[in-house]
Amino acid sequence: MSASAVHSLWTTAATAAEPISKIDSPKIEYGQLSPTLIVVGAAIIGVLVEAFVPRKHRYYAQLFVSVVALTAAFAAVVALAQGGYGTTKARIAAMGAIAVDGPALFLQGTILLAALVGLFTFAERRLDPEVHGNRVDSFAAQAASVPGSDSEQAAVKAGFTTTEVFPLLLFAVAGMLVFPSANDLLTLFIALEVFSLPLYLLCALARRKRLMSQEAAVKYFLLGAFASAFTLFGIALLYGYAGSVSYGTIAQVVDGTVQNVNPALADTMGNDALLLVGAAMIVMGLLFKVGAVPFHMWTPDVYQGAPTPVTGFMAAATKVAAFGALLRLLYVVLPGLRWDWRPVMWGVAIVTMLGGAIVAITQTDIKRLLAYSSIAHAGFILAGVIATTPDGVSSVLFYLAAYSFVTIGAFAVVTLVRDAGGEATHLSKWAGLGRRSPLVAAVFAVFLLAFAGIPLTSGFAGKFAVFKAAAEGGAAPLVVVGVISSAIAAFFYIRVIVLMFFSEPRPEGPTVAVPSPLTMTAIAVGVAVTLVLGVAPQYFLDLANQAGVFVR
């Protein structure tokens, strides 16, 4: 099969690419970009709220704006999908910068729902004891005050809360919405930065254990900046190779169907070294965001240090966005190069699955444990990415949707288990939780079983989908490695269940806070999605199947 014929398995040519007659006014399809525009607009309104609304009303104003924005954006995504933009009317909008197609809409919908659920955990204000008569959330009273300083005490005493987290969340979501739909490398890079920078900030904003939180943010920022630099360098090299940053043009140059795009770059164009090094560097940047071995070093520290609601949101939504971008890059831009990237991704997937699962065994902190588990899951998803079949795309989409709700739910449960120092994340403190709070422990057990991929949970359906796609795509050895690492991973999930249900509670053990309806909703949504996708996944598999074709 020729390269372009294979390419057409999972992409369709864009319809109605109108010729540009004049250079002056760019044509922007506002309707098709509305999900992103709504979120960006709401984020800007959020900034204005910070500036003009009195402090005591800000929390409710921000919460209202965020909920409305995310709901409206989700409605817009649904409307676009209903309008056929996911299938027959898939097109490239905004002068070639943004693709509006099935994978983009599916992932945007997933990100928006995950963000909405994540938002509820951000807004939770009943877990921490009241400070001077004010209800507080998980975020620092005043981010700018040095930990332990007088100004921090003053801020706490005044009952400040960092309501800026809401616009920051919305900006991050906006970047994430663009990331998987970016159709040229510059848009990709800008989206990367737009969602990364707010996340670096959010990581530093924990109310308790502020030094750890700030340390996590610095690590995340430094390593993230490196990864961004790699990506940017890769983009430059790829531009040098192809003479264009547009996905479609690069793909054509790689295929050899188009030559000499940019006469000014005649010296470098078609230089395979530029292509290989450039592609490798961009993929590296994306693998960093995904948390794949060997680019995973930041994950445990950041997951542990960041405020838990942020960790949950980040673990779910970043992974969705980054895998979306990775899929589009590999399937739309670099299918002609798949004989080169597939062996490398094989290796990455294998070490990611095994590495995540093995290192997780030794963890003693629940957040770190979930971090390594997320690494192992990235490996499973990569197995689906490698399939390079339409089934591979839809299985990855389904897995991401299933995984993100389990993750947010699991981290939401982590916020409930508390002792005097805030959240009790050390595993030894979870001993006997099943005796003290059977319901909370049972819910967490459901999430752990889903992570472990036990049948009748969404984790199993997702794992089955990606492994099936991988096996059909000729990656049977990956399935075997995946199965082995699932077995290893099962061990530490089970260990937590043993701890919760079969160990005696410790007398000075943690208490389980009774949350407001916000966190309850987040957890309930997590459980519901986990069970529905586990027992009756057909509707969502159909959805992912319909959404499995990229536009080019």
């Binding site: 059977p438 249900f501 079969f502 009756a536 996944p537 057909q538």
Partner: protein
């Protein structure tokens, strides 16, 4: 549309599990009665299935088929053949006895520390949980016996591990010779070991299940078996062998076959007696049943290829299990090793590939369920009286508790396959079936019977005869509830020992079918061959 009878047999205990779990904490006796009622109703439904099943009818009867996950090629397909019917009825029959026998096993301890009980008042409901979990296991086991879609089978085969795990890890014997803390540690060790062994087996099977889908394009047992039989579905020899091994590994862990058996003694030793019975008499049968249904039908050629190795492992199981049973000092572990020996016989009968062998193996599954339940439950009553599992702590019980000793003896004699009791018929059939084709293996396996006599009779002698130990001198005899558990099982053992025809009539046609799938015919008798 006709009434979905098979779904109902699984749905009823599942509903019962949910309702039982929902009973308020203070009403735990209501939870017990509710669970018992649901298990009896399930038994009634299973008997309806038995009556409606026509042994000479089509291969799979009472079939149901609905679309489930079209994207994975999965259909919710149920159907039973004779083997399935026998095992569904066995399961439904044993669960009420298990529930009755465990009536007080999950009552909350009176001595629990006050801070905990006040903290968790109204929320921690171990009794409800115990009986709900038993019913959940029943539902999943029954649906595993009925599924004719590989994926549906796999899902419940795996999901079953979770309630089993909580049953093993969460509930133990009241008294333990090393105190509650040590018991709790050992229990969770046993539960984790059980889960890991079976999960690894299951995950390896998952790889094979996916491989089967890639090769066959769907999961329907009937469709795949048919396509295999008429040659429309060709598998490369190596592919078939790998897939067979993937399936067989999971079933061999579950069954359990030497050398994958080591989880069983721990799990049976540390769990309460009714749960131990549930493991060995009910849940483990899914493993041997699945060998018959899935390994042989889906991979006939590979099954024949693997037969010599499997027969050797089965014989090792028989002898090794029996030898270790002889050396045990712990009553429950002794029964566990005896079970390993018996599962060796079952697997031997299945892979001897003769109709007598496979009929015997199926009959063995039923009889082993009943006889082990009888022996183990009486042993449990004994242990609960003295508070120790060690054989050395007993002696002369037959003088103080003659009924208990008598029922224990009958259970033991059934375990050693005394003629006149049910297991004799099945063991005899297995050995004859094996002998027809593999005389040497048949001879070695026969030593298993000798060893069985040794471990059973020595167990009886040490615990029941001899001078009465002071600790057992005040031991009460069986109570009414306990007699109600044991007596029907013993009646069944004697009845099926004298008149096994009802079971063999149901099982035989299905066995003939399975044999024809692997293209095996019974060897001609020697005399005729000589002519």
């Amino acid at each position: 549309m006709s009434f979905p009878l098979l779904t109902a047999t699984a749905a009823l205990p599942a509903i019962g599990a949910v309702l039982t779990a929902a009973v308020p904490a203070a009403r735990r006796n209501a939870a017990k009665s509710l669970a018992l009622v649901f298990s009896l109703a399930t038994l009634a439904l299973a008997i309806v299935v038995l009556v409606r099943f026509d042994p000479d009818g089509g291969r799979y009867q009472l079939t149901e088929s609905h679309s489930w996950i079209a994207d994975f090629g999965v259909r919710y397909e149920l159907g039973v053949d004779g083997i399935g019917v026998a095992l569904v009825v066995l399961t439904a029959l044993l669960i009420p006895f298990i529930i009755l026998a465990g009536w007080h096993d999950a009552d909350p301890l009176e001595t629990g520390d006050a801070s905990l009980s006040s903290y968790a008042a109204g929320r921690w409901r171990p009794t409800q949980g115990f009986f709900a979990l038993i019913l959940a296991v029943e539902a999943m086991v029954i649906i595993s016996f009925e599924a004719t879609d590989v994926f549906v089978f796999y899902i419940f085969f795996e999901a079953m591990l979770i309630p089993m795990y909580f049953l093993i890890g969460g509930f133990g014997d009241r008294a333990h010779e090393h105190g509650e803390e040590a018991a709790s540690t050992q229990r969770s060790y046993a539960a984790v070991k059980f889960l890991l062994y079976n999960l690894v087996g299951g995950l390896i099977m998952l790889a094979a299940v996916i491989g089967l889908y890639v090769v066959a394009g769907n999961f329907s047992l009937t469709e795949i078996a048919e396509a295999r039989a008429n040659g429309t579905l060709d598998m490369a020899t190596n592919t078939e062998r790998w897939l067979f091994l993937g399936f067989f590994f999971a079933f061999a862990v579950k069954a359990p076959l030497w050398p994958l058996h080591t989880w069983l003694p721990n799990a049976m030793g540390e769990s309460t007696t009714p749960v131990a019975v549930l493991i060995t008499a009910v849940v483990d049968k899914v493993g041997t049943f699945a060998m018959l249904r899935f390994c042989l039908q889906l991979f006939p050629e590979a099954s024949k290829w693997a037969t010599p190795a499997i027969l050797v492992l089965a014989v090792i199981s028989i002898i090794y299990g029996a030898l270790l049973a002889v050396g045990q000092r712990d009553i429950k572990r002794l029964v566990a090793y005896a079970s390993i020996s018996h599962f060796g016989f079952i697997i031997l009968g299945i892979f001897a590939m003769t109709s007598q062998g496979q009929s015997g193996a199926t009959l063995y599954m039923v009889n082993h369920g009943i006889s082990t339940a009888a022996l183990m439950l009486v042993a449990g009553f004994l242990i609960s009286r003295r508070g120790s599992r060690l054989i050395a702590d007993y002696g002369g019980v037959q003088k103080v508790a003659p009924v208990l000793a008598g029922t224990f003896l009958i259970g033991g004699l059934a375990t050693l396959s005394l003629p006149g009791l049910a297991p004799f018929v099945s063991e005899f059939l297995v050995l004859v079936g094996t002998f027809e084709r593999y005389p040497a293996i048949g001879i070695v396996a026969t030593f298993g019977i000798v060893l069985a006599a040794l471990y059973t009779l020595v167990l009886y002698q040490r615990t029941m005869t001899g001078p009465v130990k002071p600790e057992v001198s005040a031991m009460p005899d069986l109570r009414a509830r306990e007699l109600l558990v044991v007596a029907p099982l013993i009646v069944l053992l004697i009845f099926l020992g004298v008149y096994p025809k009802p079971v063999t009539d149901i099982v035989d046609p299905a066995v003939k079918q399975t044999l024809s799938d692997v293209h095996k015919k019974d060897p001609q008798p020697e005399v005729e061959a000589a002519k």
